[in-house]
């Protein structure tokens, strides 16, 4: 145990990213502190909140919304000034927003990382798919992803793609009757209907039960078959990391050589605490991470922190079926 610092590493945020980082470090014998603005809420309470919610289409409604740890739909949280109402569904509690992420686990394809070279738009990534691939494998094992090892995930109807160095940890779930019919009807029209790799366990995995079709991936899997960050918050604690809840980080403190030497957090009771560490990981999500960096005036020599923010994009298709599904 290091005597000169409060911890080797302090992680801000107990979501999927922060908790996995904390777990990996704790396994290596590092002393780790995780700071979480929200609280630990057991799954059954979230499920009960959902059942009692009068607005079930609001995926944040079953989750805590405290004055010191708002979820992102709170009127006090995001002030929009432009024409687009940007209001992504972030949560603040142990485990973070993967409590309601629906668990799609697509990899990028090799060509996704060469947009400029191949398609003349955007920028190429500074690394190749092959360099990233081993980390995809580790992430898929950590999250317990089920997927097809034989389908062409580029949708072109070819062989297994993208390349994999290791099979998916679990086999895909069986196709629903709806999917079977879609595949059969759309295939002849030239559409390749493929399985979406996802973080729902199809067999017992890492303490999680297999999916039993509870029809509620969003906003909470009632049985925890779907991966959420609370899994690794728990693993990190079991590996020795210290999780401090009700701890809103508000300042990264710079030392003499501009390296970060300490972090300051405040609790809902008003208590201010300063903690020191050799390293700090800010994993507080796409809004809170730049916010903390900007208010601390750190890590922004590029002047790009907080810029180029992009929401989660999505497309949907709706069909009216001519047969019962």
């Amino acid at each position: 145990m290091n005597q000169d610092f409060d911890a080797d590493v302090i992680v801000v945020g107990s979501g999927a990213l922060g908790s996995n980082a904390a777990f990996e470090l704790a396994k290596l014998g590092k002393s780790v502190i995780i700071l979480e603005a929200g609280e630990h809420i057991p799954r059954w309470k979230i499920v009960e909140n959902f059942r009692n919610s009068s607005n079930k289409g609001n995926y944040n409604s079953p989750y805590p919304n405290e004055p010191w740890a708002h979820h992102s739909y709170d009127e006090q949280y995001i002030e929009n000034t432009g024409s687009f109402e940007f209001r992504p569904g972030m949560l603040k509690l142990v485990g973070g927003t993967t409590w309601h992420w629906a668990a799609a686990c697509w990899r990028y394809l090799p060509n996704d990382m060469k947009l400029n070279t191949l398609y003349g738009v955007g920028r190429d990534w500074p690394l190749e798919y092959s360099e990233l691939e081993p980390y995809y494998v580790r992430a898929e094992i950590a999250l317990g992803v089920c997927g097809s090892d034989t389908q062409d995930q580029s949708g072109q109807g070819g062989g297994a793609f993208p390349p994999r160095s290791s099979p998916y940890p679990m086999a895909p779930e069986g196709d629903t009757y709806l999917f079977q019919r879609l595949r059969e009807r759309m295939g002849p029209a030239g559409y390749h209907f493929i399985h979406e790799p996802n973080g729902r366990a199809t067999e017992p995995y890492d303490g999680r039960p297999a999916c039993s079709g509870n029809n509620n991936c969003m906003p909470v899997c009632p049985i925890g078959a779907m991966y959420s960050g609370d899994v690794h918050a728990r693993h990190a604690e079991q590996a020795g990391a210290k999780l401090i809840t009700d701890a809103t980080a508000y300042k990264l403190e710079k030392g003499a050589d501009d390296k970060i030497v300490a972090i300051h957090y405040r609790s809902s009771t008003g208590a201010d605490v300063r903690l020191t560490a050799k390293y700090f990981i800010v994993a507080a999500h796409g809004l809170e991470t730049p916010k903390l960096l900007l208010i601390s005036e750190v890590a922004n020599s590029s002047d790009q922190v907080g810029r180029n923010l992009m929401d989660h994009t999505g497309q949907g298709l709706q069909f009216i079926a001519d047969e019962p599904l």
Binding site: N55, Y73, E75, E173, D175, Y177, Q180, S212, N215
Partner: protein
């Protein structure tokens, strides 16, 4: 054990005696119950059965919907009774006759009808506002929402389960009759 539902039910049964006194129930429950006048309770249930074309409806839920709609709009009992009396005056036999009748063009009549039907089917009152922490909605019932019934043979009510992994590969047993 006396559940909230049973208590409400007993309250509804005792409407004739006017026993809506908040004897030992919680404040919220007392408000819910006392806001519904006794003759309104039975009118509302009869009107609901007509609008939903059902021979019976849960009395506790009926009381709850009436109370919540009344809290949202103090004029609701009058509007509801006016609608019910129109139905009687015109000897309407079905919702189809109601929605096809000239007086259904009256926005108050239409809005009142839709509020009632919506509360029974969706299981809440009020209008949801998306991407906000709060709105004016209030829960009436989760599993009792009538919208779940038409697909209950094939689709499980969210959060519950009635099978094991991959049960969904089989077509619904009732497919042939759909």
């Amino acid at each position: 054990m006396i559940t909230r539902r049973k208590l409400l039910y007993s309250g509804a049964a005792l409407t004739g005696a006017g026993l809506f006194a908040p004897l030992w129930a919680g404040v919220a429950l007392a408000q819910e119950v006392s806001s519904a006048a006794r003759d309104d309770v039975e009118s509302f249930r009869q009107l609901s059965m007509f609008l939903l074309e059902r021979p019976s409806l849960d009395a506790a839920l009926s009381l709850r919907i009436l109370a919540q709609c009344t809290q949202n709009d103090p004029e609701f009992p009058q509007k509801m009774k006016a609608l019910w009396s129109k139905v009687g005056q015109h000897h309407l036999r079905s919702v189809g006759q109601l929605s096809g009748s000239p007086f259904y063009r009256d926005p108050v009549i239409k809005d009142t009808t839709q509020k009632i039907v919506s509360a029974w089917y969706l299981g809440y009152t009020g209008t949801p506002v998306s991407l906000r922490a709060t709105d004016g909605t209030r829960l009436v019932t989760f599993t009792g929402a009538l919208a779940y019934q038409p697909t209950a043979d094939a689709t499980v009510i969210p959060t519950y389960s009635r099978g094991k992994t991959n049960y969904w590969v089989n077509p619904p047993a009732t497919l042939a009759n759909d």
